[in-house]
Symmetry: C2
DNA sequence: TTGTAAGCGTTATCAG
DNA sequence: CTGATAACGCTTACAA
C-alpha cells in the first residue's frame, strides 16, 4: 500500500509559496494575514487533507483540547449517560473527552491520574473511589481545573464539586419505607475506605434513629457480583433478623438485590422491598418495576463539562459547589412488609 | 496557590549533573548507560515526580500510545462491556483507550475520525454507522491498523474485521419463533443507509421465504426513542396485519418494543413475542424475562484491542476476519401466538 | 501584510 | 559509556 505521509503545515506553505507562519495564522482565527490569502490557504489545506498534528500543537501551546473523565466503575449504566452528557458538551466546545474507568481499584485510579497528567488533559472530571486524596493531590500538582463528581463533602478543596443529593435520596427512601410500615431497613453501602459518600450513611443512621427504627448497614464492594454474594448471605438469615427493605445507592446494585432475592426464594416486594437510585431506563421494565430515586444523569455529565470549560475560559475565583436534586419514583418494588 | 510547573527531563538531568540524553536512555529500556546511573536516574525522577510529557514523546516518536474506539451510539449498554473489554486489554498493554460516540450521526463520525487522526491514535477500532466508506478512507490515509466491529461484510478491505454472527442470530431467532407457530414475524432494522449489517436482513428474508412465512420488515432509526414511536404505529395496525413476533438487533431496542407494546395495551408474549440480541445483564430481570441471543460483549472489546496490539507489534500480513458465535437464551418473552 | 527564528520536551544520531 | 546537537510540527514574538 502506498502510504502517503500526512501533509504538514510546511507542505501546505510550500505548495502556496508562502511561509509556514502565514499558514499558521491563516488557519487560526487570528488576524495578520489578508482575507484573500487566508481563503487560499484554507482551500488548499483542505484540498490536501491537511489536519494539524495535535501532538505538536499541544507541545507548543501547552493545551491539549482533551478533557479527562475518570469514572469509578464503568460497569454501571448510570455512567453511560454521564459520559454521554460530558462528551456532548465537550465536543460542542471543541474538546474531545477521554474517559477511563478505575474499576474500583485505587491503584488503577492513581495510574490513570498519572496518565491524564502525562497526556496533559486540560481539565479533569472525576468520580473518585474513596475520600479522594489522590485527586486532590493531582489538582495541586497540575493546577488544572478539576470537578469532583459525587465525592464526599470532605474531598472538596479548591476543586469544583458536583453531587447528586445522596443524603436527601436516603431520607426520601427511608420516609417512603417507614410510611409503608417497615422498621428493619438496611442501607447497602460500600466499605468506608472506598465509599465516596459517607454522608449517605450519616443521613441514614440519623433519620432511622430519630424515628426509632432499626438501622441495618450492609457493607459490600459495589460491583454487581460482590453485592449479590453478600446479599444472599444476608437474606439467608432468619426472618426476624433480616431486613424487610433494602435501600441501595444505584439501580444497578438494586438489580443485584433482585437477583439475590430470587436466588434465595424471596419475593419482591412481598418478602423484601427494594429502593434503587438513578432511575435507569430499564428500571421501569424490571419485574417488579423498581421504586427508585430519579437523578439527571445526562445533566450531571453536561454540567461537569460546562464547569470545566468555563473555568478554562475565565479562571475566575471561587469553586463551584452544586447539589443536584433527586425525586422519588414509586413503582412496585416497595410495599408494606409481608 | 503555588503552582510548581511539572519537572521536565532537563530538570532531572540538572539535578543529577548529567546530560538530558543520559536521563532519556536511563528511563527507557535501551542500553547505553551504567546500571548504577540508571538506578540513580530512576530514583530521582520518581522522587521529583517526573512524568514524561506525552505530547513531546508523541511528536518525536510518532506514536501516541492511544487506541481509538469509535462507537456508533453509546446509549446502548451493549457497548459498555465492549468499551470495558477494550479498555482493559489496552491498559494491560500500556495503551490508553480513547472512546467516542458518533451518536448515529455520520457527520459526527467523520469529525471524530479526523480528530483521531489529528491526535495520532496508534490504531482504531470502530463500529461504523453505515457501510463504512469514511472508515476505509481513514485506514488508507493513515496507514494505521483498523479493526471494524460488526461492520457489514462489504466494509472490510485491508482492515481487520470482528463481527458477532448477525445472520446466524437472525436464523436462530426465526427458527425458534417458527417452531412456536409464528408466521408473521417482523425484523426491526435500521434504514439501509445507516445499517451496518445488511446481512441480517438478507438472512431474514431468505429463511422466511424458504419456510413460506411472511417476512415483515420494520425500518427505524435505532435509538430507543425513535424505535418506540415507529413500533407504536406498527402495533396499532389491525390484528391480522401486524406481526405476532418481533426480532430486534439488540436487547436495548427490545426494551423499546416492550415499552411500545405496553403503551398500546398489548401483552408480551401473549399478544406479541419479542426476541432481543446481546443478553444484557438486565434482560433476565425484565417483565417478562427476555428471550435473546447471547454474545460475548467483553470478549468482543478485548479481542478488538488484542488484534490492534498484535498488528502494531508485528505488522504481519493478512487481515483478521473473525465471527463471534451467538447462543439462543430462551426466556419468557416468546410463546406461541395468542 | 508577510517572513524569520526560537523553542515547547522528547528521542536519536553521532562524536568524544 | 556519556554528552552535544538536530530534529519532530507547530505557534508566536519580532523583524522586514
Amino acid at each position: 500500500m502506498l502510504r502517503t505521509p500526512r501533509p504538514t503545515m510546511r507542505d501546505v506553505a510550500e505548495r502556496l509559496g508562502v511561509s509556514v507562519s502565514a499558514v499558521s495564522i491563516a488557519l487560526s482565527e487570528r488576524k495578520g494575514v489578508s482575507d484573500e490569502l487566508r481563503e487560499r490557504v484554507r482551500r488548499t489545506a483542505r484540498a490536501m487533507g491537511y489536519v494539524p498534528d495535535q501532538a505538536a500543537v499541544s507541545l507548543r501551546t501547552r493545551r491539549s483540547r482533551v478533557m479527562g473523565l475518570l469514572i469509578r466503575n464503568l460497569q454501571n449504566p448510570f455512567f453511560l449517560d454521564v459520559v454521554e452528557g460530558f462528551d456532548r458538551e465537550c465536543s460542542a466546545a471543541g474538546y474531545q473527552a477521554m474517559t477511563s474507568s478505575a474499576r474500583y481499584e485505587p491503584r488503577h485510579e492513581r495510574e490513570l491520574l498519572d496518565a491524564f497528567a502525562a497526556r496533559g488533559v486540560d481539565a479533569l472530571a472525576v468520580a473518585p473511589i474513596g475520600p479522594g486524596r489522590a485527586v486532590r493531590s493531582w489538582a495541586r500538582r497540575t493546577g488544572k481545573p478539576v470537578v469532583v463528581l459525587n465525592g464526599s463533602r470532605a474531598v472538596v478543596d479548591s476543586m469544583h464539586s458536583l453531587r447528586i443529593d445522596g443524603p436527601q435520596a436516603v431520607r426520601l427512601a427511608v420516609r417512603h419505607l417507614a410510611g409503608l410500615g417497615h422498621r428493619r431497613i438496611a442501607l447497602l453501602t460500600a466499605p468506608a475506605a472506598t465509599s465516596p459518600d459517607p454522608e449517605r450513611l450519616a443521613a441514614f443512621t440519623e433519620l432511622m434513629t430519630e424515628r426509632r427504627l432499626e438501622p441495618l448497614v450492609i457493607e459490600s464492594a459495589l460491583t454487581a457480583h460482590a453485592a449479590e454474594a453478600v446479599l444472599r448471605a444476608e437474606l439467608r438469615r432468619p426472618r426476624a433478623y433480616r431486613p424487610t427493605a433494602i435501600v441501595t445507592n444505584s439501580d444497578w446494585i438494586a438489580y443485584a438485590v433482585y437477583a439475590a432475592a430470587r436466588a434465595e426464594g424471596l419475593r419482591v416486594p412481598v418478602d423484601l422491598s427494594v429502593v434503587g437510585h438513578d432511575d435507569l431506563p430499564t428500571s421501569a421494565l424490571t419485574d417488579p418495576p423498581l421504586t427508585t430515586l430519579r437523578a439527571d444523569r445526562l445533566g450531571l455529565g453536561r454540567r461537569a463539562a460546562r464547569i470545566l470549560i468555563d473555568s478554562l475560559d475565565g479562571p475566575d475565583g471561587t469553586p463551584v459547589r452544586e447539589l443536584l436534586p433527586v425525586e422519588l419514583v414509586e413503582r412496585a418494588s416497595t410495599a408494606p412488609p409481608g
